[in-house]
Symmetry: C2
Subunit: 306 residues, 2 copies
């Protein structure tokens, strides 16, 4: 029984107040898989790349237990390319270049071996393609988690709503939750979005942490205050990967366990921002991860009796 | 042994997306005292008002155990007046009018009975006046907490730094912490500000919660996600009042107890924003307060073992 991840595998060019890189590995599925691979070694990747995508990057993921059988390689095509520049606050960025390249022809066909999918992570992508993957699964996964972004609310709102209606957990950031619901209050936004289908809503607030809503229940996880945020690219996908990795490892989809999964995701995201691209995610140890999770425990725990 | 509070008592005119009021009771010391009065009934107020300040507002505080002996009434003067308009996000506001009035001649003389001050709360005010109050105390209080704002960083930075060097706990918001330290990272800002004197720094982030720094220790308290924020005026002072009230009640100035005090302050602030001005703070019950504090426990508690 596997964790199936769908999303982009790409090249990014990044500029932050701390430096720049012209061409580094990126893509939502790349970050999700690296992050989740610290918790489960049964991950199946669905993506598309061009002939320019380095074989050693694929091999590195294979060595972490990530199956590449569902990654289509278009030999004479170019991989998706995104270029962005971050502002000083690291929460806002300008997109400089978006070249869809092979992503334009992406029409994923799930390999038969992917039918054992127990947990499905839909990384940010065209909503109709996300729905298409759900529809190809003969048995409904135990948990379907979907990431998306404001762009699809602007160009494909009807498709987006259809896909949202098919998933268990939706992940968006705070401004996206407001845009999708038309409500400024996140509590009201959460109620409206849950009425669209997902029983769980995770609102990511970057350096301000994350909220999990489920009916009347709310859980808040802080972000770790960091000396430096070097490069926030992929932090949201890394969060998703840690979340899904923990769920896949524990096979427990209760609200209580999702709280733990959010802490794990937050810890992984706090590593991601320490170096450019996914570099920091490639070198972590189990000890570093448990140390970081313990920092979250220390950060929020208090004992009050009235 | 008492909690001495210094700050403004004033009139505000407020406009929020939910409504407006032309003239409502306000002022930092008003909010601090109301909030703290739910935890201790030995509060001594230091402020100045004009003859226009309603006697029944003074009496209401007296009935809550707040001594008005240190409040100077300038019979032929007018009370401080502030008018502001909040934007939709409620975190930003425009000041429309500031009339200092009697505050311009404020030169507080501590009554002899205030020399039993055990805990001192310096509400936002001219830094030199804050320092003046500290200097009038013959015995140093067990804990001196200071609130301030960006305005003093711009017009009285040297005085401000002197006063900051005399206190134990400084409370500022995130943009003020950045401005005061010249550091964007709050972790770095906290280190620099602690080097100016205060052993504890509380960074208030409004709807994103609050951080407590002490040496290498950090504690994060969330803000409660609310359906509506009706009027954020005074939320920071109410937070300070809850914090000081809990400290005065428990007489424990350890880091662990400050964590509890921050949760209490956050709970009180979450009430403050539910109605215009201090109105909600005037009608609370002990049961409502403990219920709210329990919501904070539920909001952040998780159980993770690795």
């Amino acid at each position: 029984m596997s964790l199936v991840v769908i999303g982009s595998m790409a090249f990014d060019a990044l500029e932050t107040p701390f430096g720049k890189v012209d061409r580094i590995i990126g893509g939502s599925a790349t970050y999700v898989a690296w992050s989740a691979s610290y918790f489960t070694n049964n991950i199946k990747q669905v993506s598309i790349v061009g002939g320019d995508f380095p074989q050693e990057e694929m091999d590195a993921l294979t060595n972490r237990g990530v199956s590449m059988e569902g990654v289509e390689v278009v030999k004479d095509g170019k991989s998706f390319f995104w270029s962005g520049r971050y502002h000083m606050d690291m929460n806002t960025r300008d997109t400089l270049v978006t070249e869809l390249n092979v992503l334009e022809q992406f029409d994923p066909k799930l390999p038969e071996s992917f039918q054992d999918c127990e947990f499905l992570m839909l990384g940010n992508l065209v909503p109709a393609i996300q729905a298409n993957v759900i529809n190809q699964l003969k048995n409904r996964p135990k948990l379907i988690v979907m990431d998306t972004m404001n762009f699809w609310m602007e160009v494909a709102l009807e498709d987006l709503k259809k896909t949202i209606g098919m998933v268990d957990v939706l992940m968006v950031n705070d401004s996206e939750a407001r845009q999708l619901s038309g409500e400024y209050s996140l509590v009201k936004a959460a109620a409206k979005i849950q009425a669209m289908g997902p029983k769980y809503l995770i609102i990511k607030k970057g350096e301000h942490g994350a909220l999990l809503f489920h009916g009347k229940q709310v859980f808040f996880a802080p972000a770790l205050p960091l000396e430096d945020v070097f490069d926030p690219t992929g932090a949201g996908d890394t969060f998703a990967g840690g979340f899904m990795g923990h769920i896949a490892k524990t096979k427990d989809v209760s609200f209580e366990n999702m709280k733990r999964a959010i802490i794990v995701g937050s810890a992984m995201a706090s590593f991601c921002v320490e170096k450019f691209g996914p570099n920091r995610l490639k070198e972590l140890t189990k000890e570093e991860i448990s140390g970081r999770i313990n920092e979250f425990v220390d950060l929020v725990q208090f004992d009050i009796s009235l």
